[in-house]
C-alpha cells in the first residue's frame, strides 16, 4: 500500500497508525493504536468538515467533523428544550507535516467525491426535470441511452444491399417512412388504405432504400476517445469532466481494461458516477491517454490496480498485432541502421520500456501505447463495409516486382475508348432531307443565288425600301401581335394573381420563376387532396403497368387486384370532382378538373387496356 494513505497519528493522546481504506464501500478512515487494542473507524461519507492546522502553525492537527445522523432520536434537556446534537468530532495529531498533508489530500478527494454524489442525488430528487447535462461534477452525464441501432449489417454490406434483403428489411423501411413525410403519405394512401402489397410498393423504390440504408449506416470510426476528454478545473477546487453516453461506449470498445474495471466494480463497489470520477483521476486514465505518469501523482488506489492487468492486456495485444516478417531484405533500411554511427545497441524504440537502471521516464511506453491504439483502430475496421471480400494485399508484391527483370518487356499498348460516329444515320437523314428538297432543282437554286449576288453587285444596299411597306400590312402585324399579347395577358392573370408581387421578387434572376410555386386558386385542403389523389393514382398506374407488361402469367391475380385499385382511383376522382362541383364554386370545380383530368385519362386508359385484354381472352 502506498504510504500516502497511511501515517502515524495520535488520537486521544494514544499513538497509533492512521490508514485510509478505499477498498471498503463507503471508504473508511481507520485508526489503530500501536499496541492494537484500540481502534476507531470513521465512515468517510459521513464527514461534514475537514479541518487542518495551517502550515505556518507549529501544531499539526487534523479535525474531522462528522454529520449529524438524522436517525438518532433527539434528546431533550431538563427544561424540555431540544439540545442540538453535537456532531461527532475526531481530532488527530501528527508529528510529521508531509504525512499529514498527504492524508489530508487523500481525505479531501474522497470526501469531495461523496459530497458531489450527494448533491447530485439531491438534485435529481428535487428537480428531475433539470437537464442532466449541467451536472457540474466529475461525472458522466447520464443521458437516455439511444445508441444508434444498426439498420443493416455493415459488416456484410454487399449482401445487405441486395434487392431481397432490402425488401425484407422492415426496420429499414419503417425508418425511411418516418424520415420522409411525402413517402409516408403515399404509403398510407396506397398500401394502408387501398391495399397495395407493401412488397410491390418497395420493389419500385429499391434505389431509394439502398441510398437510405447507406446514408444511415455511416458510422463514426474508432478514434482516440480519451484525448477528447478534457477535464476542466472549476472554481471550487473540483475537476469537471463531461462525458456523453456515446463516448463511454467508445471507451469501453477501445479499452477492454476499462470495461473490465467497470464490470468488476459497478455496482458492487461503487455507483457508476463514482466509478468515472475515480477513473478520471486515476493513473490508469493517464496511462491510457498517453500521459507521463509521475511518481508523486496521486492516482486512485482501486482503479490503479488495473495498471498491472493492463500491461498484461498490452502484451497480448502486441502478440496479436505482430507483423509478419518480410521475406526480403530491406537494403535501404539497413543503410539507415548504420552500426558505425550508432553502435550495435538497438535503437531506443526497440528497447523495452524500462532501461537497465530501472527508471523509465515512460516516454517509450507512451509511444508504444499510442501505436498500439492506432493499430487496433485500423484493425477494428477490417471487417466493416464488406472489406473482407476485397482481395488480400500482398505485402511482398512490391519487392518481388522490383527484383524481376522487366526492361525487355513490351510496353503496354495505349488503350483508347472508341467513339463511333454514326455516319450512316446522318446520311440517311440527309437523304430524307434531300427528298424533301428535291422539288427545288439546282438550276433554280443557282438562279436565285445569282439574282441575289447581281442585285447586291448593282448598288449599295438601300435600307429605306423597308419603309415602303403599305400601312395596312404594318397595321395588321401590329394587330396580330397585340391580340396575342392580350390573350396571353388574360391567361397569365388567371394563372398567377400575384403578378405584381412576382415582378418585384423575381427581378434578381430571370429564371427564378420556375422554382417558386405558382399560387393556386384552390383552397389548400382541396389542393392537398388533389395532390394526394394524383400521387396515389400515379403509384397504382406504375405498378399496374409494370405487372401488366411483365407478361408473367403468375402475376394475373396481382394485376386483377391492381385493376380493382385503378377502378377505386377512378371512383375517388369522380367523387372528388362531384363534391366540389356546385353552383357557387364553379371556378374551383373548373380548376380541380383541370388538375385531375390528365391522371383520370391515364387511369381510364389503363382500365380500358385491361378490359380489352379480358374481352380478347374470352372471345379466343
Amino acid at each position: 500500500m502506498s504510504e500516502t494513505h497511511s501515517g502515524a497519528a495520535t488520537y486521544k493522546k494514544v499513538n497509533g497508525m492512521l490508514r485510509v481504506d478505499e477498498d471498503a464501500s463507503p471508504a473508511n478512515l481507520i485508526w489503530r493504536s500501536t499496541d492494537g487494542d484500540k481502534s476507531t473507524t470513521i465512515e468517510l461519507n459521513m464527514v461534514d468538515k475537514l479541518q487542518a492546522t495551517p502550515a505556518s502553525s507549529d501544531k499539526m492537527m487534523l479535525r474531522i467533523v462528522g454529520k449529524i445522523d438524522s436517525g438518532i432520536k433527539k434528546r431533550k434537556d431538563n427544561e424540555g428544550n431540544e439540545i442540538p446534537i453535537k456532531p461527532p468530532v475526531h481530532m488527530f495529531t501528527f508529528n510529521n507535516r508531509t504525512v499529514m498533508d498527504n492524508i489530508k489530500e487523500t481525505l479531501q478527494h474522497i470526501i469531495a467525491r461523496y459530497k458531489d454524489e450527494e448533491s447530485t442525488q439531491e438534485k435529481h430528487k428535487n428537480e428531475t426535470e433539470i437537464s442532466p447535462a449541467n451536472t457540474p461534477v466529475a461525472s458522466e452525464t447520464p443521458q437516455p441511452s439511444h445508441l444508434p441501432q444498426d439498420l443493416i449489417n455493415t459488416a456484410m454490406l454487399d449482401s445487405s444491399l441486395t434487392k431481397s434483403k432490402l425488401l425484407s428489411n422492415l426496420m429499414l423501411q419503417q425508418s425511411l417512412l418516418k424520415e420522409s413525410k411525402e413517402l409516408m403519405n403515399i404509403f398510407q394512401d396506397t398500401v394502408i388504405k387501398s391495399g397495395l402489397p407493401p412488397h410491390e410498393f418497395w420493389s419500385t423504390r429499391i434505389p431509394l432504400l439502398r441510398a437510405y440504408a447507406l446514408s444511415t449506416s455511416q458510422k463514426i470510426g474508432p478514434y482516440n476517445v480519451l484525448s477528447t476528454i478534457k477535464p476542466v478545473a472549476s472554481s471550487d477546487n473540483k475537476v469537471n469532466v463531461n462525458v456523453s453516453r456515446e463516448k463511454i461506449h467508445t471507451i469501453f470498445q477501445s479499452y477492454p481494461i476499462v470495461k473490465k474495471a467497470y464490470d468488476d466494480n459497478v455496482p458492487k463497489n461503487f455507483k457508476e458516477q463514482e466509478f468515472w470520477a475515480r477513473f478520471f483521476s486515476s493513473k490508469l486514465f493517464r496511462k491510457l491517454r498517453g500521459e507521463r505518469i509521475m511518481n508523486h501523482d496521486r492516482g486512485d488506489i482501486i482503479i490503479d490496480r488495473y495498471l498491472s492487468l493492463d500491461q498484461e492486456y498490452d502484451r497480448r495485444d502486441d502478440e496479436l498485432l505482430q507483423h509478419s516478417v518480410r521475406k526480403t531484405i530491406d537494403i535501404e533500411g539497413n543503410l539507415n541502421d548504420d552500426p558505425v554511427k550508432k553502435g550495435h545497441r538497438p535503437d531506443f524504440t526497440m528497447r523495452s520500456g524500462i532501461d537497465p537502471n530501472g527508471n523509465s521516464d515512460g516516454g517509450m511506453a507512451i509511444l508504444r501505447g499510442m501505436n498500439r491504439l492506432s493499430e487496433k483502430m485500423v484493425e477494428s475496421l477490417e471487417n466493416e463495409y464488406s472489406r473482407v471480400n476485397l482481395p488480400q494485399e500482398d505485402p511482398d508484391k512490391e519487392e518481388r516486382e522490383e527484383i524481376l527483370y522487366s526492361d525487355l518487356e513490351k510496353d503496354a499498348p495505349a488503350d483508347y475508348a472508341e467513339i463511333k460516329l454514326k455516319r450512316k444515320v446522318l446520311d440517311a437523314k440527309n437523304q430524307q432531307m434531300h427528298k424533301e428538297n428535291s422539288s427545288v432543282s439546282w438550276l433554280e437554286v443557282k438562279n436565285e443565288i445569282s439574282s441575289i449576288t447581281t442585285f447586291m453587285d448593282k448598288s449599295t444596299l438601300d435600307l429605306t425600301t423597308l419603309t415602303k411597306i403599305s400601312p395596312e400590312v404594318t397595321r395588321s402585324i401590329n394587330q396580330r401581335l397585340m391580340k396575342a399579347v392580350k390573350i396571353n395577358a388574360k391567361q397569365s392573370k388567371h394563372m398567377n394573381t400575384d403578378q405584381m408581387l412576382g415582378t418585384t421578387i423575381s427581378s434578381t434572376s430571370m429564371f427564378q420563376e420556375a422554382s417558386k410555386e405558382s399560387t393556386s386558386q384552390l383552397p389548400p385542403s382541396i389542393l392537398e387532396s388533389c395532390r394526394m389523389l394524383n400521387n396515389s393514382c400515379c403509384e397504382f398506374l406504375k405498378h399496374f403497368y409494370i405487372n401488366f407488361q411483365s407478361g408473367d402469367p403468375r402475376k394475373t391475380m396481382l394485376i386483377k387486384k391492381l385493376y380493382k385499385n385503378l377502378m377505386d382511383c377512378q371512383e375517388k376522382i369522380d367523387s372528388l370532382l362531384n363534391s366540389v362541383d356546385s353552383e357557387e364554386n364553379q371556378e374551383i370545380a373548373k380548376y380541380c378538373k383541370a388538375y385531375l383530368v390528365h391522371v383520370l385519362d391515364s387511369v381510364n386508359l389503363g382500365i380500358h387496356k385491361y378490359r380489352t385484354l379480358v374481352k380478347q381472352g374470352h372471345t379466343a
Partner: protein, 337 residues
C-alpha cells in the same frame, strides 16, 4: 397595349430605369440555306400571294436584319451584336468576321459610323457567302440545315463575350431566324443538338427568340427552346414587314423577360422525336446511357445513337406481351396515350 401597361410596367418603373443602363449582346442566327428559301418563294408565288412580286425574300430579310442590328446598337453605346449564318454547307460568322476590313462599300456612306462599321461587314460577308456557293459545285452542296450547329456556336460566342465582360454584367439574348418549308418538321433530326443548346442557354441565362418564316406554324423543338428560356416564338408568312415583327416583338430586354407578356401563340408541344423514325413520340423507350428516345425497340440490341449494348434479358422483357391466366397474348400499342 393596355394590358401590358396596366399589369406590368407600373410596378417595375424604378427597376427598369436602373436596368436600362446595362449593355446587352444580341446574337442573331439566320438560316440562309438557299433551298428552303427558293422553295418558300416558289410556294408563295404558286399560291398567288404577293410575296414574290417585290424583292427577293433573302434580300428583304437581310435588310430587316441590318436595321434590327442597328436599332439594337442605337439603344446603348455598350451594346454588341453578332450575326451568324446557318448556311447549307455549315455555319459562318458574318459579324464579327475574321477578315474585318471591308473592301467593297456596299452600304450608303452617309450612314452613322457606328452602324456602318457593322453593316458593311455584314453585307459584304453575306454577299461573299452566296458568291462562294454560286462558284461551288452542286455535289458539294449538302441539303442539311446547319441551324443547330449555328445555334451552338452562337451560344459559345455569347459565353465568350460574357466571360470577357464579367465586370460590366452584360446581358445576352439569341434570336434565331429560320425559314420553314411546307414539309414542316425539318429540324426534327436536330433534336439532341437543339436540346443541348437549350440546356446551355438556360445555364447562361440567355433567352432564345425564334422567328420562323413560312412553312408550318408549329416548330416543336424551337418552340421548346423559347419556352425553356423564356423567349418569344413567332411564325410569320413571309419577309414582308419582317422588320415590323422584329422591332415590336423581338425587342424585349433580357431583364424584362419574366415580367413582360410575350406575344407567343398557341401551346408548346413538349414531346420529343424518335431517334430512328423521326416521329414525335409521347410514350417510348429511352437509352439509359445517352438518353436517346426511341419509339420502337431498336434492332441489333444496341443503342442506335451511342452503340451501348442493351441487356438482352431486358429487351426480351420489353417485347413481352401482357397475358392473363388463360395465356392469351395481347397486342399492345405503347405510344397510344
Amino acid at each position: 397595349m393596355d394590358a401590358i401597361a396596366d399589369t406590368v410596367f407600373q410596378g417595375t418603373k424604378s427597376k427598369t430605369q436602373e436596368i436600362e443602363d446595362t449593355p446587352s449582346l444580341l446574337t442573331v442566327v439566320v438560316d440562309t440555306s438557299i433551298h428552303s428559301w427558293v422553295q418558300l418563294t416558289k410556294q408563295q408565288s404558286g399560291s398567288g400571294s404577293e410575296g414574290s412580286s417585290g424583292e427577293k425574300q433573302l434580300i428583304e430579310a437581310l435588310k430587316s436584319i441590318v436595321v434590327f442590328l442597328n436599332a439594337h446598337l442605337a439603344f446603348n453605346s455598350g451594346n454588341q451584336v453578332c450575326l451568324i449564318a446557318a448556311h447549307s454547307e455549315g455555319m459562318k460568322y458574318l459579324y464579327p468576321s475574321a477578315d474585318s476590313k471591308p473592301s467593297m462599300s456596299m452600304v450608303s456612306s452617309d450612314m452613322y459610323r457606328g452602324f456602318r462599321n457593322v453593316d458593311e461587314i455584314v453585307v459584304e460577308q453575306w454577299y461573299r457567302l452566296f458568291k462562294e456557293e454560286l462558284e461551288g459545285q452542286e455535289s458539294k452542296v449538302s441539303m442539311k440545315s446547319s441551324l443547330s450547329g449555328a445555334m451552338s456556336s452562337a451560344l459559345t460566342y455569347v459565353n465568350r463575350i460574357l466571360k470577357e465582360n464579367e465586370n460590366t454584367s452584360l446581358r445576352s439574348r439569341l434570336l434565331v431566324i429560320t425559314c420553314g418549308t411546307s414539309q414542316g418538321k425539318d429540324e426534327i433530326f436536330q433534336y439532341i443538338p437543339i436540346m443541348n443548346c437549350i440546356f446551355s442557354a438556360t445555364k447562361m441565362k440567355c433567352s432564345i427568340d425564334v422567328v420562323k418564316i413560312g412553312g408550318g406554324i408549329e416548330s416543336t423543338f424551337l418552340q421548346q427552346a423559347t419556352d425553356a428560356t423564356s423567349g418569344v416564338y413567332l411564325h410569320v408568312e413571309n419577309t414582308r414587314g419582317l422588320i415590323q415583327y422584329l422591332s415590336t416583338a423581338m425587342f424585349i430586354d433580357p431583364s424584362l423577360r419574366n415580367v413582360i407578356i410575350k406575344p407567343n401563340q398557341g401551346s408548346v408541344d413538349f414531346r420529343t422525336s424518335c431517334f430512328l423514325t423521326g416521329k414525335v413520340v409521347a410514350v417510348g423507350f429511352v437509352c439509359s446511357v445517352c438518353l436517346c428516345v426511341l419509339s420502337v425497340i431498336p434492332p441489333g440490341q444496341k443503342c442506335p445513337a451511342c452503340d451501348s449494348p442493351f441487356d438482352s434479358k431486358i429487351i426480351a422483357r420489353l417485347r413481352r406481351k401482357p397475358v392473363l391466366s388463360n395465356g392469351v397474348p395481347k397486342k399492345k400499342n405503347v405510344s397510344n396515350k
